[in-house]
Symmetry: C2
Subunit: 460 residues, 2 copies
Amino acid sequence: MPSFVETPVTTEIPGPVSRASTKRLDAIFDARAVHFVVDYNKSNGNYIVDVDGNKYLDVYAQIASIPVGYNNTTLIEAAKSPEMASALVNRPAVGNFPSDQWVDILRDGLMKVAPKGLSYIFTAQSGSEANELAYKAAFMLYRRRQRGDGVEWTEEETKSCLNNAKPGSPEMAIMSFQNSFHGRGFGSLSTTRSKAVHKLDIPSFNWPQAPFPALKYPLAQHAEENAAEEKRCLEEVERIITSWHCPVAGLIVEPIQSEGGDNHASPSFFQGLRDITKKLGVALIADEVQTGFGATGSFWGHDHWNLTSPPDMVTFSKKAQTAGYFFGNEQLIPDKAYRQFNTWIGDPARVIMCKAVIKEILDKKLVEQTARVGSLLYNQLETLAAKHPEYIQNLRGKNQGHFIAFDTKDPASLVRSMRAIGVNIGTCGINTVRLRPMLIFEETHIPILVNALDKVIGAL
Amino acid sequence: MPSFVETPVTTEIPGPVSRASTKRLDAIFDARAVHFVVDYNKSNGNYIVDVDGNKYLDVYAQIASIPVGYNNTTLIEAAKSPEMASALVNRPAVGNFPSDQWVDILRDGLMKVAPKGLSYIFTAQSGSEANELAYKAAFMLYRRRQRGDGVEWTEEETKSCLNNAKPGSPEMAIMSFQNSFHGRGFGSLSTTRSKAVHKLDIPSFNWPQAPFPALKYPLAQHAEENAAEEKRCLEEVERIITSWHCPVAGLIVEPIQSEGGDNHASPSFFQGLRDITKKLGVALIADEVQTGFGATGSFWGHDHWNLTSPPDMVTFSKKAQTAGYFFGNEQLIPDKAYRQFNTWIGDPARVIMCKAVIKEILDKKLVEQTARVGSLLYNQLETLAAKHPEYIQNLRGKNQGHFIAFDTKDPASLVRSMRAIGVNIGTCGINTVRLRPMLIFEETHIPILVNALDKVIGAL
């Protein structure tokens, strides 16, 4: 069993070939965020190879979005299928002219993993778009209930909305949590509360944010405080919704706040959210863009909540390789066609890739693998944290697959040092390192990651 | 030369197989807008074939988004390339970990057709997203000029923006025109002014709209009135920008308002917009989502404007089979990395398809073909309009390729009758029929379309 990546990193990072390629790119495309340039033909499974020949165990996976490994053979087969060629060449306006395969692509793919209780799907192209579509559905549902089923739109409504004015364009809100990340469109960004670099200078809606529980670790030692903190946050959620200056039509929450620092809450907190939103007629939207598709050791992050009734909508993207939202309530289908609509409504080519991802996850039992390997990884990191208590703090993600994170003094420097010895990891929040392995991360990869962390931290 | 599609339509539309497929789909996916279900394997070139075996000359082309025909061989080659398989299977976070091919995919594709004066590109996944990214760039540029180059963000700014509050989240606006369509996200929808069905019940920003010239046809007979109308609209644009309650950072305009009814304006109107926006420091955004990629007989719709300095940004989607925006001013690259950013930043698979589309357009001289065939088509429609003056009114699109439209009494019924004899066309605005052929529409297709129109209108 190798302790490190076999082919060591042999250049500085980025290496000279990466730098030259990035320089060419930067003349036409903002390349300031490029970490290194990748040779995807040489990358395989859990390993990413850059154009300078450096090989890394990839525990960041394209910002948590590679599901089943580079050059996965099941995915290559889907990519080379005649069905795919047709989807790429004959891109349909899927709401008007779907192909005869479309219904089966959905049934044999996304609908196989639909969250319990949610029987409809709307496809999209990004997590940000998926969330905005869910917000629109929530607003239309809220107004439908106010207006009454079957009540026709008034002329005042249809005229005023064209002028962005009431009553057709009403003041309503989506609530989100402090430190949340829900995307970068004007609606989704209005619910994102993570970092100034995402939001500065962009006009936003006057929508409310609630505090997200700030849990103390280790959880077992702070059970009482943490329960009180969650109770406080739930009270705030209810207080803000009922006192906001306009109706709150929806509440969006990540099962684990990812970009904002890998912040967790207990199942009882989420059960409380379901109770409050149900009582107040607010649509509960689970943003599973980062947690969905198996990363937390269950297929959906909200499976951990043990709800008695499901969220109203569940959005997804990243590991799904496509995007969209599931829902169960028929009334979330608007009263007229063309209200929730756009030219492409997602991309069948990407939905075909998603079907292949789902097949691979189910065939190879990758959710079970993630739970099993994640648990072992967590235990080893717990041991490492005990060895380096100054550098590995607030370890979190127990029983959440390998959706694991910890705080450290200088995460950017730690990430750089890890890359220099062949392990690619990421950061989030202010001082957090996040591990985002692919679902095919195995037992054999644990020592590579843990030994590298031990070496880098030991040298600090 | 056939007068109609060779294989006639043999069932009602949608036919029984279409209806059965749509019913299955509707159980999981809102299928109320489905016109018919398509057999894309049997569709070819300008012809679309439904699952009941009906064959139509497709003059709507997936809401103006099929560029070079169904099952185009150049596109099939691109779809089956090893480069494509890798792009589909190894989807990168392109801002962090681009492939070594990415720069050349852009250079040999999109940058070959970059509008004059615009040397940078940002990729996206839909026209709506492209427009919102352009709005964000406009807002950041406006604030950069206010703040001063190199001036650091204040703590008040970075803190307040997380709360969606001033000064970090400032009140600023994007201006658009009455009857415009710019997409369905919360920002783009705030600039869309076409129909209530697009906007009702969705909260929007208090952004201004200006009147778009309502030209009278035939243009030659109303030159003086039309010039006065355009002057009035330009004056309104300037008046509204300078009197709006908050800064107007950008103005977005379609070269031809498409969804809103195929409304045209003269080059001098657009020159006026460029002059006003330049004077007032407002970014001018040309929304070429429907007009771009050759449909108007020039590669870009705004090529017809004969500007002395280019628009600040040009957005595209639809026929490009991917989306994004071009720009020229380096200051539209934000002062820091990660401000204009998201996980995927478009989809390299779709950008590869776009490269193939561009190759096909340039190799086959399809822009020249569109200009030539469009001119012949316009002339024949002019003759037909003289024959049926009650049913073909305000014919427009002269010298705009085959981007042609006319008003009629009952466009929905005309479209249904046309489908019944094997020609698929679309509507827009309130009483407009729009023709949106593919770029490969040829002289031989003109009589099929024109004879079908003649027959349908003659039977009214």
